[in-house]
């Protein structure tokens, strides 16, 4: 069977992993980084993704999309409150958000598909084979529309999504595989944009989720925002400048806030620095860990209520939890660790890299699906209650939250009026009493033969599959005939829209690929030119003059090729230059080794 990869499609960063002889591994890119920033930029040369796109955040903010995950399965109305934070233009079409990048608009699944394609290519390059199947992770608390949108993204990227799995449970698979743990564990997952808590029982290779809870709009992004708001306010006070008017500077503030936050997990104070617009010079301000902790305490507190709810649903108290596992970059914050420790009364585990553990778990699940791993089985739950709207606008629960999936339930429907030929059904997801307070998933109309009121009996089966995605089947109990149901999603792309997007993606794929190859080759060329010039400066005296001449020739040949439009020529000149600088590289390495060894005791060397 073809290989299946595991993908963590994150708010801030995304990763791809595979199972290598029983051990899950993350695949690094050519830049040797494991994470692909979840950023897509529309440049004059086409779309770019990841690290190069991240550079466009401050250069071209209106055309650079980040945190697309926050928009998956959402309508414009859902995100109204935070639109001011995003520099790009959003519109809506058929209940689905669209990003306006230049002339064209893109739905969140299309943007996510570009990130997925990047990961797909990365895996194909590394493994030397075509990759068409994947397991993709989503926050456990994602609703049906958000899961469906993720699946659509996979299809648009040319990937068959064999399974959507929950991030905390994926993490537990990686953790369980490594630690061989038995008992009850809590996985606390604070990512870039979402928070999940899952409580699992691990026994004899079965990973049984007892309860899950969370907040799909709470993460590192929100912490960065609070810090950024503080900096923006100070700039306003000190210089009378409102940075909101400068989208590029807003991005710079956001990135600086993130940088400061990350640094303050290791040190107690740091300095935030910003270039001010209109030639007003530089702004700098000292930030201490205490300051950002008191600033973000409220947000971190917000993660504790879902933890308590999950414990209650699992009918457990903190004493029953044997181990707590931390997932997501934001769990590096000391305050998060402290609050989690206080809640559960034990020190959380963080041996596994919190940035990578989800992707590793996805690779384990991929291996289970391909038949490689047979001793592990994940039994997950549906995070939200599924119901239908009944008379008076009340939600009647059909499948309760935290029910093990696959989960099925049957409901019987009939008519109230003689000769009625249809029954409208409105499917909802959520925990509130009234239909209007819950998430509308879909509507459909049951076809009923015209008969006296109450005579027709239509059995509707609601089936939540192992992906947590709803399937609906209807059967006329009088005739035994099944009817197919056309379900119109409330906040999602229709099947025909997805098909169109897949087609578009193939049509543009060829253009995209060559454009991207050129962009990447240029980027690599630029990087190599810079490092070679630096090396010549530092180590020119260490090598023979003819070697310097050869290097200089190769260097200028690459510069010429870089300005051309043929990626293959650029690659060839890159290879030439790499060959030419070999003696220089070796000389520098020897030199630095010699210097490094000086002044050290013998015992440290041997």
């Amino acid at each position: 069977m073809a290989r299946i990869v595991g993908i963590d499609l994150g708010t801030t960063n995304s990763l791809v992993a595979y199972m290598d002889k029983g051990t899950p591994r993350v695949i690094a890119g050519r830049n040797e980084r494991n994470m692909v920033p979840s950023v897509v930029a529309m440049t004059d040369n086409g779309l770019i993704v990841g690290d190069p796109a991240k550079e466009h955040l401050t250069r071209n903010p209106a055309r650079t999309v980040y945190s697309v995950k926050r928009f998956m399965g959402k309508s414009l109305e859902d995100v109204q409150g935070e639109l001011t934070y995003f520099p790009y233009t959003l519109t809506e079409q058929g209940g689905v958000i669209r990003f306006k990048l230049g002339e064209k608009t893109y739905s969140p699944p299309q943007i996510s598909a570009m990130i997925l394609k990047e990961l797909k290519l990365r895996a194909e390059t590394h493994l030397g084979e075509s990759i068409t199947k994947a397991v993709i992770t989503v926050p456990a608390y994602f609703n049906d529309s958000q899961r469906q949108a993720t699946k659509d993204a996979g299809m648009i990227a040319g990937l068959e999504v064999l399974r959507i799995i929950n991030e905390p449970t994926a993490a537990s698979l990686a953790y369980g595989l490594q630690e061989k743990t038995q008992g009850t564990i809590a996985v606390y997952d604070l990512g870039g944009g979402t928070f999940d808590i899952s409580i699992l029982k691990l026994k004899d290779g079965i990973f049984e989720v007892l309860a899950t809870n969370g907040d799909t709009h709470l993460g590192g992004d929100d912490i960065d925002r609070l810090i950024a708001d503080l900096l923006i306010e100070e700039v306003r006070e000190r210089y009378g400048l409102d940075l909101h008017a400068y989208p590029d500077h807003m991005q710079a503030v956001r990135l600086e806030a993130e940088r400061a936050k990350v640094q303050l997990s290791d040190v107690l104070k740091t300095t935030a620095t910003l270039d001010l617009p209109d030639g007003k010079g530089k702004f700098s301000r000292e930030l201490t860990r205490d300051q950002i902790e008191s600033l973000t305490m409220g947000l971190i507190e917000r993660t504790l209520a879902p933890c308590r709810k999950a414990l209650k649903d699992a009918e457990l108290t903190p004493e029953h939890i044997d181990e707590v596992v931390l997932v997501g970059g934001s769990t590096r914050m000391p305050l998060v660790r402290q609050r989690v420790r206080e809640l559960f009364g034990k020190t959380p585990h963080c041996e596994l890299n919190p940035d990578e553990v989800v992707a590793l778990g996805a690779a384990v699940q991929a291996d289970i699906l391909s038949g490689g791993t047979t001793d592990m089985l994940l039994l997950d739950v549906t995070p939200l209650s599924l119901g239908i709207e009944t008379m008076g606008g009340v939600m009647s629960s059909v499948i309760r939250r935290n029910t093990t999936i696959p989960a099925g339930a049957k409901e019987m429907f009939t008519t109230y009026v003689d000769g009625q030929t249809g029954v409208d059904i409105h499917i909802l997801q959520g925990e509130r009493e009234l239909a209007k307070d819950n998430r509308s998933l879909a509507r459909f109309r049951l076809k009923v033969p015209p008969l006296p009121a109450g005579v027709p009996r239509i059995e509707v089966t609601f089936l939540i599959d192992a992906n947590g995605i709803l399937n609906v089947l209807a059967k006329d109990m009088r005739t035994g005939q099944s009817q197919s149901i056309e379900v119109k999603p409330s906040y999602g792309l229709s099947d025909s829209e997805v098909e169109q997007m897949i087609e578009d993606s193939f049509k543009f794929a060829a253009d995209d690929v060559s454009a991207r190859k050129l962009i990447e080759a240029r980027l690599d060329a630029g990087a190599l030119i810079t490092t070679t010039e630096k090396s010549l400066l530092e180590g020119g005296h260490l090598i023979a003059p003819e070697d310097i001449a050869v290097t200089r020739t190769a260097l200028s040949a690459l510069s010429v090729a870089k300005d051309g439009t043929d990626p293959r020529t650029i690659r060839a000149r890159i290879a030439d230059l790499e060959q030419a600088t070999k003696s220089l590289t070796v000389a520098l390495l020897n030199d630095s080794l010699t210097k490094g060894l000086q002044g050290k005791k013998v015992s440290e060397v041997t």
């Binding site: 069977m1 089985l377 994940l378 039994l379 029910t403 093990t404 696959p406 099925g408």
Partner: protein, 239 residues
């Protein structure tokens, strides 16, 4: 309905798989979940009750660990994860069987749901949800409803509110004790039911005893649900 299940002497009608022929190779399937000949997974019959499907006799005392072990074992047999490389038909059977298994486990795991389910099987007892208080609690519940209304209307900061709140707390303790008493009584009935089933007598006396236990169980279950809802309402109001 015959509730004593016997593997060795069963006619095809009594086998756990109502469908006795493999959907794939048409050979006879002898009560297992997989065809012996072609090793294809077989759909669990919709007529099969949860006890039979999980391999337990129709008893009200079940060892939770044994039940869990069986649940895990059947999950390993049915879960869609293990059918990824199989045909669409097998995947669909795996999905249906897993969903059914999960419902069966959820129902049998909880003693109250298990008893309600058994009542449904044995006596066709629709879950008759009480709309009026049980006779012996009638006065108290009416009074409690009044107190709750007063409390909801009262100013939270007032002394009256505090008095009402402490009164409600006392009521809560009383009702929770009642609920516990009912659960103890249920436990005894469960034991009586199991003992009667174990004896397996077919006398008139045994039938009368069976009917008595079921009726008594149904009364307590519906009273318990009523009291539980009142307690939930109470807790939601005062917390």
């Amino acid at each position: 309905m015959d509730h004593q299940h016997n593997h060795s002497t069963g006619s095809p009608r009594e086998l756990p798989m109502a469908r006795s022929m493999c959907w794939h190779c048409q050979s006879e399937v002898s009560g297992e979940y997989f065809c012996e000949r072609c090793v294809k997974v077989q759909p669990v019959s919709k007529e099969l009750d949860y006890f039979t499907c999980m391999g337990f006799p129709r008893r009200l005392t079940i060892d939770p660990r044994q039940l869990e072990t069986k649940f895990y074992e059947l999950s390993r047999a049915f879960h869609p994860d293990f059918f990824q490389n199989k045909s669409a038909e097998e995947q669909s059977i795996s999905l249906g069987n897993s969903a059914m298994l999960n419902t069966a486990y959820r129902t049998l795991r909880d003693p109250i749901q298990r008893a309600e389910y058994l009542l449904d099987l044995e006596a066709g007892a629709v879950k008759n949800i009480r709309t009026s208080p049980p006779a012996d609690l009638f006065e108290e519940i009416l009074e409690l409803q009044d107190t709750l209304d007063e409390y909801r209307a009262a100013d939270r900061a007032s002394d009256a509110s505090a008095t009402l709140c402490s009164k409600l707390q006392t009521e809560r303790t009383m009702l929770e004790r009642r609920q516990q008493d009912m659960e103890t009584a249920l436990q005894q009935l469960f034991a009586q039911w199991d003992a009667l089933q174990d004896r397996g007598e077919a006398t008139d006396q045994a039938r009368a005893e069976r009917d008595r236990i079921l009726k008594h169980m149904r009364d307590i279950l519906s009273n318990r649900t009523y009291v539980k809802n009142i307690v939930n309402d109470l807790v939601a109001t005062i917390s």
